[in-house]
């Protein structure tokens, strides 16, 4: 057993980070906030870079990698708050929806009673009839609400839940960094605020949540076990939402402004939590598992 990134996985993560930071850095993020709309050129570049075709076999023009690599890539997407229905389009590429793999086609999906980017998407997976627009809390994710069409099967695809958890992890990791940067630079009472334990301990707790969620998310990527995915989802949601909240707190008044990026992380984390469906369902999955065969823990 060696539960660590391989050299190839480290290299992949580095490459994806470079790509995203170069193509969707802070200036691009703020420009996107100022003029919303899906950047089709960016979408095609993501397609060319292989984000959507990552798990398609090479024989079909894909990259031929697995779920762990996809998780690393989506973690990076979460870090930079990459906009657009990237998870839905990635999954569509895996299902051979034409044009999804290359980024020619923008695919969205009904997830957790919502559809993201409905007006910009070329293809909608799931029944979006009767969709009503919301005034989305996240300036970078237009949302429609979809009425319950019955049938009971509202469960979200576990892989979508896992990739969403990976995005949450990336965001949580980023807000921890932003909080630490601010705590080192901002001075009050004649010293960096990060020297005060009240601030320091907020930051330490952020890191603890990130690293615990990281272990859960990476393990779920390796096993693809629904119970591991449910656990990863709960921990990653917690790390992202509470991380953004604490990051906001550490930033003080600046954290409450529109020009700070912190609120973008918080709002997106809220959107992703809903995308993964009802929290109760994940909790009940894990509760039911406790009554299952004792040996199941051996995993």
């Amino acid at each position: 057993m060696h539960f660590q990134l391989t050299d190839d996985q480290r290299a992949l993560r580095g490459g994806v980070r470079e790509l995203f930071e170069g193509r969707f850095g802070r200036e691009a993020l703020r420009a996107a906030v100022d003029s919303p709309g899906l950047d089709r050129a960016l979408w095609r570049e993501l397609g060319e870079a292989g984000l959507f075709a990552l798990r398609l076999p090479e024989a079909e023009g894909g990259v031929g990698l697995g779920l762990p690599e996809a998780v690393l890539a989506f973690e990076e997407a979460g870090r930079v708050l990459l906009p657009g229905p990237v998870v839905a389009t990635h999954l569509a590429a895996c299902s051979r929806v034409p044009g999804a793999a290359t980024g020619e086609t923008v695919v969205t999906a009904v997830q957790g009673g919502l559809v993201e980017w409905l007006d910009e998407a070329d293809v909608v997976r799931g029944d979006a009839s009767g969709a009503e627009p919301l005034r989305s809390v996240d300036p970078l994710t237009p949302l429609h609400r979809v009425p319950d069409h019955g049938g009971g099967g509202s469960s979200t695809d576990p892989v979508a839940v896992l990739l969403t958890a990976a995005e949450q992890l990336g965001s949580a990791s980023r807000t921890c960094e932003l909080a630490v940067q601010h705590a080192r630079a901002r001075e009050q009472f004649g010293q960096p605020i990060g020297a005060f334990q009240a601030v320091k301990h907020l930051c330490a707790d952020m890191l603890v949540r990130v690293e615990t969620a990281r272990a859960a998310v990476y393990a779920a990527a390796v096993t693809a076990d629904p119970r591991d995915i449910a656990a990863a989802r709960l921990l990653a949601d917690e790390a992202a939402v509470r991380g953004a909240r604490d990051c906001l707190q550490v930033h003080g008044g600046m954290g409450f402004t529109w020009e700070s990026d912190v609120h973008l992380h918080l709002k997106r984390a809220w959107v992703r939590s809903c995308r993964s469906g009802d929290v109760t369902e994940s909790e009940e999955t894990l509760a039911g598992d406790l009554l299952a065969d004792r040996e199941a823990m051996a995993a």
Binding site: F3, A195, E211, A216, T280, E284, M297
Partner: protein, 384 residues
């Protein structure tokens, strides 16, 4: 990222399981928790059994008499012994996890030859004399004084929270040898024989009603200079080696045990009807997520130790912070499952609920762990 075990690792696990199935039924009954001499004999007996089978000091380096096992093999060992219900490390804790590794890393060949084999063979018990009444979280404030007198140090002062003091043969002791030097540079590490004249042990009763640790009073106790490990006044550095060992490996078996308890709680709740309460179910579901993640974090940390050749890092602080709180939440949830029976000390999980309260304090309080995480991992400035 790989969570499958290699054929060699699986083989190690299979042989261990087979061996445990053979030896565990032949063990004597567990002694009463209040009977310290019997506990000592039981724990040393288990250590001897491990030694005879080649499992003693699994994670110790081979040149210290250990097996030089990989961190993954050590993980498998802790997992399987816990799952099989094998005895805990008990009275051998300080010897195997603190004093022994310190002597292995910093001792002279003579010191290693004198002290390490009896630890591995279950002959001698060690205790730890670090904390003092006025030096807890601020360990470097310790005041127990040692003055040189010929070929001995003469030690006076007092230590506290010393587990197994009543039955220990040796104490790994931190003393102040240079009161004038900066705090961290005037400390020395000594191996003190517990039968030396001038030592008084006074047991302390915990809130659980048990005597798990003691105060140790030292009045002009003579410790030979040859019992000093490391240089005089270099004891702080020598000690830091031990503390990281404590945080690196101490909780593996416990996470396995907590996951088992969680399953038992669910079954108990179904039996007594509380399972019908969705709030309780969801709480147990969240705890399942928590302990699954802690197990993965353990595997991750083991992978990291393997990558960085065996030295446990500050990642142990991240784990310890999360785990100690999760353990308390687990037993609080147990109280919810039990209802009024949670007030009955004779009920399972109730004594464990009480002892779980020490987890956010012992081996570095959560507040100190947060400082470590913030300063050493995140690079935040030291405060006042």
């Amino acid at each position: 990222m790989d969570l499958t075990y290699t054929p060699e690792e699986e083989d190690f696990r299979a042989r261990l399981r087979e061996w445990l199935a053979k030896v565990l039924p032949a063990l004597p009954p567990k002694p009463s928790p209040a009977d310290w001499p019997a506990r000592r004999a039981y724990d040393l007996g288990w250590q001897r059994t491990l030694y005879d089978a080649g499992y003693a000091g699994l994670h110790w380096p081979a040149d210290a008499g250990g097996q030089g096992a990989t961190p993954t093999q050590h993980l498998i060992f802790l997992e399987e012994t816990e799952r099989a219900g094998a005895p805990y490390v008990g009275a051998n804790f300080v010897g195997l996890l603190h004093a022994g590794p310190t002597i292995a890393a910093e001792g002279t060949p003579e010191q290693r030859a004198r002290w390490l084999p009896p630890i591995l063979r279950g002959k001698e018990v060690w205790c730890q004399g670090f904390s003092e009444p006025d030096a807890g979280s601020d360990l470097a404030a310790l005041r127990t004084r040692a003055r040189r007198d010929g070929d001995a140090y003469v030690v006076s002062g007092s230590k506290i929270w010393t587990s197994h003091a009543e039955v220990a043969d040796w104490c790994e002791l931190l003393v102040r040898t240079d009161p004038q030097a900066p705090r961290h540079r005037g400390i020395t590490w000594l191996a003190m024989p517990m039968d030396a004249p001038g030592i008084t042990v006074r047991p302390l009763t915990t809130l659980a009603g048990s005597a798990e640790f003691a105060e140790v009073f030292l009045d002009e106790v003579r410790v030979p200079v040859s019992h000093r490990v490391g240089e005089e006044n270099d004891g702080w550095r020598v000690t830091m080696v031990t503390l990281s060992f404590e945080r690196g490996t101490a909780f593996v078996g416990e996470v396995v045990a907590c996951r088992r308890v969680l399953g038992e709680l669910a079954r108990e709740a179904r039996k007594n009807g509380r399972w019908d309460d969705p709030v309780l179910r969801r709480r147990l579901g969240r705890l399942n997520a928590e302990f699954r993640a802690l197990w993965r974090l353990t595997q991750w940390n083991v992978g990291e130790a393997e990558r960085k050749s065996g030295v446990p890092g500050v990642g142990g602080s991240v784990f310890k912070l999360r785990y100690s709180h999760a353990r308390q939440e687990l037993y609080d949830a147990a109280a919810d499952v039990l209802g009024v029976e949670a007030l009955d000390l004779g009920r399972s999980w109730v004594p464990e609920r009480l002892s779980s309260l020490s987890y956010t304090i012992a081996a570095g309080t959560s507040q100190i762990q947060r400082n470590i995480v913030a300063e050493r991992i995140l690079g935040l400035p030291k405060g006042r």
